[in-house]
Every structure is written in structure tokens, then in C-alpha cells.
């Protein structure tokens, strides 16, 4: 697990932690059921306040990325697959929108773009 925090960044520390963990979950580096460090242990490792790590975890829990169980700790949440899929779909949709816009600018037609896509899929 790699979490690195910058004291001089304008982004509040709790946000830095939350987004790094989010990133790891989305990328799949953290899988469902994986245990996260305890809020106190994390505070000690990063040499920050326990309130900050608590806040980061609360954020993550609010957004559904993790679950905290009293006395046991925090774990990567189960429903993630759906959420992540949705998020990834959204990313793909955004990228495709870009492709469509660029194609229009160039004057390409749907057929040509479809061809390109087919070749790319078959390549892999």
C-alpha cells in the first residue's frame, strides 16, 4: 500500500489520502475485502492527526468505496464492482464523445470510425 502526502500541496491532506485510496481501488490495486490500515496506524505512519485520517475514511465511506466495521477496521467495499463499472463506463463514454467530436472535425464518417474500432479490437 502506498500513500504519500504532501504538506505543501494546496489540497487538504484528507483529500489527498482519499483520492489515493480511491485511485487504488479503481485501478484494482485494492480489491474488495482488502483491509485498509487502521485510522490510528495510518495517522502514525504519516505523522498526522487521527482526525484527518478519520475524515478521509469517512469521505471514502460516504462515496461507497469502503466499509468500516466497529472493532474490526475498514475494508474495501463489496458493491464496488457495480460502481466501478459505472465509473469506467462513464470514462469510456467521455472518451468516445471526444473521438466523435474529433472525427466530425476531420470529416470522418461513422463507417470509417467503426472500421478503425474493429481493427483495434482485433489487434488485441
Amino acid at each position: 500500500m502506498r500513500i504519500i502526502v504532501s504538506n505543501s500541496s494546496s489540497e487538504p491532506i484528507y483529500e489527498q489520502i482519499a483520492s489515493q485510496i480511491k485511485g487504488m481501488i479503481i485501478k484494482g490495486e485494492l480489491e474488495e475485502g482488502d483491509a485498509l490500515p487502521s485510522i490510528r496506524g495510518l495517522a502514525k505512519d504519516l505523522q498526522i492527526s487521527v482526525i484527518t485520517t478519520k475524515r478521509a475514511y469517512e469521505e471514502l465511506e460516504k462515496e461507497g468505496f469502503i466499509e468500516t466495521m466497529q472493532g474490526k477496521g475498514s475494508f474495501v467495499a463489496m458493491q464496488n464492482k457495480e460502481l466501478m463499472k459505472e465509473k469506467k463506463l462513464k470514462v469510456i463514454e467521455e472518451k468516445l464523445t471526444e473521438v466523435v467530436a474529433e472525427s466530425r472535425l476531420l470529416g470522418l464518417e461513422y463507417k470509417e470510425v467503426k472500421e478503425m474500432l474493429k481493427i483495434l479490437f482485433e489487434e488485441e
Binding site: 491532506i13 505523522q47 487521527v50 482526525i51 484527518t52
Partner: protein, 281 residues
Amino acid sequence: MLEIKNVSKNFEKFKLNDISFNLESGYIMGFIGPNGAGKSTTIKLIMNLLKKDSGEIKIFGKDHIDFEREVKNRIGFVYDESYFYEDLTINQMKNIIAPFYKNWDEKMFSKYIKDFNLDYTQKIKKLSKGMKMKFSLATALSHNADLIIMDEPTSGLDPIFRREILDILYSVIQDENKSIFFSTHITTDLEKVADYITFINNGEIVFSKSKDEVLESYGVVKGGKDLLDGDTRKEFIGIRETNVGFEGLAENPQRLKKIFGSEILIERPTLEDIMIYSVRR
């Protein structure tokens, strides 16, 4: 865990006026303020070394005088000076202190002595200030205390050693049933480790909030002197003017952005900034 309610104490030339703040278990509270602000006095009132004139102090939910002995059994204290018997050795001093505590843990004490590189047979008067402090800390942590009270424990110590102490405090606070109350005017120590900050000045509490809240609600604003006038000056808690501009501390600096726009630079304050600007006026 530690509740101070409307505590006052009058001296000839100084007055501690209606002090209130709380510390819950599992957290570290930094108690900051300039010299003479009342930090040591507050701690002495908590430990009943001084009699308060009015107010209530509860520790572990119990009145600190009615249950004095019970409460003190669970408090580990570290003061800025060593009040030990100088002619005794560490071991002898320990043998005096240990029997008074119900939950003295000899193994823990030996471990700390070993970790701190102290010599049991060394006389207290021969110890350096840092070593005396380490001994103090060792005794404070060796009776399963739930509340650790420290009064300027790191003043006069080198940064390396101060960092060591912070690491120890971090380890202690892994247990969420313990709390640490730490007074200091070296705010950089607290910048990292504190969860809550209570700021005292001239015998009164200026604020007592979580450190993140404090650092987020203030900002250091820098800009050209031309931006200052009668109205804008009021926005600041304290201003320092130089030949090349000004620097000031303000609450909720975001609203200043609306007034000055991009002509100013807003930075995150350090605890030291907050203390200096609040005090200097």
C-alpha cells in the same frame, strides 16, 4: 476524559479567567500560548497543585479533588523541570515512586529505560536535561496511565530528541482509550501530532478546536501595502507591514479573495503564525 469548566484563579498580577475546554479519549490536545499566558497555571490547577477559585475540573468523569487519588493513579505527568530528589539514583527514585501506583508495570519501565539508554545507577543530579525528561517520561508511561499530561516537556531539547518524543506519543495514542495533553510554545511539534489545539493568551482561552479546523479557518494573506486602508485593516487579526508589502492573518480568508481578487496571495497558516499574529495585535 478531561473536562475543564469555567475555571478561574486569581493571582496578584495575573488572572486565569473562566477557562473551559474538553479533551476526549483517544486524542492528543496541544495547549499553546506565549510565555506567561497561563499554560503551566492551568496544568497545576488540573493536578491540584494550585487551588482553583471557581469552576469545575473533571477527569475520567470524576471530580479531580473528590477523587484525587483515584484520578492521579491514572495520570502520567511530565513537567518542564525535574522535581526529583537529586541525590538519588534512577533506581532509587523509581523505588520511591512506583509503590504509590496501583498499576505499576516494572517490565514496561525497564523497557523504556533500555530504549532511552538510561543507567539505573546514575544519580539524578548527574543527568542532562534531556535524560531527566526521558526518565520522567519513562515513569509517566509505566503505570498504565490513561491520561498523559505534559507541561513544556520539549523545551530545551534538540529536534532529534523532540521527534523521538513525538514518535512515542504516537505509539501511546494508538490505544484509543488514552489521551495526551501537551503544553508547549514550540508549535512545530504540534503541527504534526496534535488532533486538537487549545490556544490560551493572557489567561483566557482564545479557541479550542480540531487542528485541521484551526488551520483551515485562518489564512496568511500577503499583498501590497496599497491594498490596506481603514476598512481592509479591520479584516485582519494582525498585520505586519514592511517596505515591500504586508502580511496578515485573517479568519476565513476566502472572503478576502472576493475583496482583493488575485492581487493577494493566501497561504495556509502555521500554528506559529496564528499564535504570533493573535498575540502581537
